[in-house]
């Protein structure tokens, strides 16, 4: 079986056309994700506008070292993901495998660091509800946003780790050719998860520090 027939699927007449469909479809999905997280970010912005001081006081309790480290980890994972796609386009199978593996490892590292951070947050009692340690009460709105936004982001990242792991294994086993158009779609999703975190960094960790 030739390489082209392994890469090309129905109903696409050419690999180029299939590649366009993959990226176009992913971007439409990403647009819906932008609006999904956008609703959350809008709610944050409105409540922050209404209770600016409470939000600053609440945000000062977040773990900025974990947050900044995790940003660096995710940005680096975006580099390895972008390199995986480049390597796959050049037909460099070994390099693609290594870059995908590094991406998965960095994704897992992010979740581990996030786990330490969640542990520290919970030790400080920063879960909204009765007996919340901070005042005024609007600080709980910030922390509700914190748990929901970072939690949903972590779910997205977990899905990303799963998808990248699957294509890595398929490539390793040889069931997926290195030129497969699937890598483009997987990479776009990964970069989306990174981009969302880029905006969570100032919203969650950097306000109220000065």
């Amino acid at each position: 079986m030739s390489e082209v027939s392994r890469v090309l699927h129905e109903p696409w007449p050419s690999v180029e056309r299939q590649k366009l469909a993959v990226t176009f479809g992913m971007w439409v999905f990403i647009a819906s994700e932008v609006l999904f997280f956008g609703g959350l970010f809008l709610a944050y912005t409105i409540y922050r506008h209404l209770d600016a001081e409470a939000f600053k006081a609440a945000a000062r309790e977040t773990e900025v070292v974990y947050g900044a480290t995790n940003t660096a980890v995710l940005l680096t994972s975006s580099l390895t993901m972008a390199m995986a796609v480049k390597a796959s386009q050049e037909g460099l199978r070994r390099m693609t495998l290594w870059c995908l593996t590094a991406t998965v490892a960095l994704g897992v590292a992010f979740l581990v660091i996030k786990g330490f951070e969640y542990h520290s947050d919970l030790e400080k009692g920063l879960w909204p509800g009765p007996g919340f340690p901070l005042h005024p009460a609007a600080t709980q709105l910030f922390w509700a946003f914190y748990w929901i936004a970072t939690g949903i982001h972590a779910v997205h990242l977990t899905v990303g780790i799963g998808i990248v792991s699957v294509v890595t294994l398929e490539l390793k086993r040889g069931t997926l050719p290195v030129e497969a158009t699937r890598f483009d779609g997987v990479a776009l999703y990964w970069h989306l998860v990174d981009t969302i975190w880029i905006f969570l960094l100032p919203m969650v960790y950097l306000i109220g520090r000065s």
Binding site: E33, H49, H191, T195, L201
Partner: protein, 134 residues
């Protein structure tokens, strides 16, 4: 060095520079957050976030060499996001019982006190004022 090795280094060059720029921007935004700059802090933090996102979108997500169709699809999410934010804030920023940025009802002294305006009870805000209950 073999041709393959040289080729690999050439592949890494541009993405590594983008990554370096992202790391410098991260350092700038975290570092500046601790310097009191008033409104400047927010401007730098969100400006850097937009710059970082733009680098990821344009270079890592390849919008620099995408077809018009793909670029349009990528921009639709942002377009509707702009509508969502501008319409919502067109509402919130023009209601003085919500700490509005526009003119206050007569007799109201201070924006920051979160006092209710002169509206009748049945037109009270939908958003509960958490801060005032403490």
């Amino acid at each position: 060095m073999s041709d393959a090795g040289r080729n690999t280094i050439a592949l890494w060059r541009k993405p590594s520079l983008i990554w370096l720029a992202l790391m410098l921007l991260l350092g700038l935004t975290v570092g500046s957050a601790y310097i009191p700059l008033g409104i400047g802090n927010g401007l730098i933090n969100y400006g850097v976030a937009v710059a970082k996102a733009a680098l990821v979108l344009v270079f890592f997500m390849h919008l620099d060499r995408s077809r018009a169709l793909v670029r349009l699809a990528a921009m639709t999410g942002l377009l509707w996001l702009v509508f969502m934010f501008s319409l919502s804030f067109g509402d919130y920023l023009t209601r003085d019982w919500n700490g509005s940025a526009t003119t206050l009802a007569p007799g109201k002294k201070d924006l920051a006190t979160h006092e209710r305006g002169t509206f009748p009870k049945e037109r009270m805000p939908l958003v509960p004022r958490f801060g005032s209950r403490d």
